[in-house]
Symmetry: C2
DNA sequence: ATTGGCATGTAACCAGTTACATGATTCC
DNA sequence: GGAATCATGTAACTGGTTACATGCCAAT
């Protein structure tokens, strides 16, 4: 029953079709909630059935018609009640870290490649988040934005995603260095200091 | 099919019963994979059935008997193959961030309380991770440990968990300040600078 | 001509969660 | 005496993933 609330929260940005919502999940919601298009379509059905969303069909000439979903009053009440309820602990499931846990019994080169790939992804996401941040700020300073904006929620979650990817970068780089030093084809390099402050 | 590999990776630390494994998941594996005891018991059954784990019953006098599970050769091969295969993107599902995304349409005080609670948890986990780190290092410097230890995987994942909780702390504190400034019962305080470097 | 984006869905399956159940022991 | 810990499970349900299917339009 938590995907519901993620969808409601995402629709605060404005009404959307299933397809548009899945794009929205890809770019901004993915920091804190992941869902496949199939999940979204199914849950949108239910949300509409339960009266938390209202749907209306938009006819398009050059594209297929789409069903736009908007939050109802009942949906707003539900979302508000959700923010007031107990918070479940976050579930993390990261295959890369499972591989790293097993690196000593696994294929070290393959794990190195996987970390490198993750690093690339982190760089890409960081760049995306920086662009989204610029768009949100719209020329204002952070201070100005936070005191004047209608909605600060999307900014706060974006900043969490941003710091997460920054950590992925620094951590991943340190891990690569350590794995390289462990490698048989050894070349010495200065210590990595993974522990931080 | 990924819980299997998380279990195999966890059993690299040594054989365990279902109960012990679930404790292990709570303290150290939870950074990167979460699973309930019921999931573990079911998957241990299957791993044994598929020959990746071998079980033997340990009779105890003052406690119930337990079934200890150990990785077989076949299990080791499977784990190695896993580290060499493609890596799926990590799935994050964090209710607290859903609440934050919806904070502008939600109960601001309740969200503040939830962030405060998360901060406490982060402090606790950080302290735990620091203790685990001390235990792993066993008096050595990080550099010494990394060049001499049999297994560095657990250390690398622990350090990721540690930096994650550190980020939770700094982010959560900034969010609390921002939410307080937004509150009707307003008291001015210096700007928070959430953006970082 | 074919790839890629827009737009929506069904069906089957697999993974994860919740509730419940049992029974002994140790600690307070 | 009661709570916490050790130890394992069943059953029912809910949530999530994968594969497949359709069809049109725009761009190359």
């Amino acid at each position: 029953m938590a995907l519901r609330h993620a969808i409601l929260a995402a629709l605060l940005e404005g009404e959307a079709s299933g397809y548009e919502l899945s794009k929205r999940f890809d770019v901004s919601v993915a920091n804190f909630w992941s869902a496949t298009p199939q999940q979204l379509y199914r849950e949108l059905e239910r949300l509409q059935r339960d009266g938390l969303l209202a749907a209306h069909v938009v006819l398009q000439q050059r594209r297929p018609n789409k069903r736009m979903f908007a939050i109802t009053d009942s949906g707003h009440r539900e979302l508000r009640a959700f923010t007031a309820g107990p918070t479940r602990a976050s579930a993390i499931r990261d295959e890369l870290l499972v591989k790293l846990q097993a690196v000593d019994a696994g294929d070290s080169d393959a794990v190195t490649a996987a970390v490198t790939e993750r690093l690339e992804q982190a760089r890409g996401k960081l760049a995306l988040y920086d662009r989204l941040r610029e768009r949100l700020l719209a020329g204002q300073t952070e201070e100005q934005f936070l005191s004047s904006a209608d909605r600060i929620g999307p900014y706060l979650t974006l900043m969490r995603g941003r710091s997460f990817e920054r950590e992925n970068l620094t951590w991943g780089q340190a891990v690569l260095k350590i794995l390289a030093e462990r490698d048989p084809t050894h070349v010495s390099s200065p210590p990595s200091e993974l522990a931080g402050a």
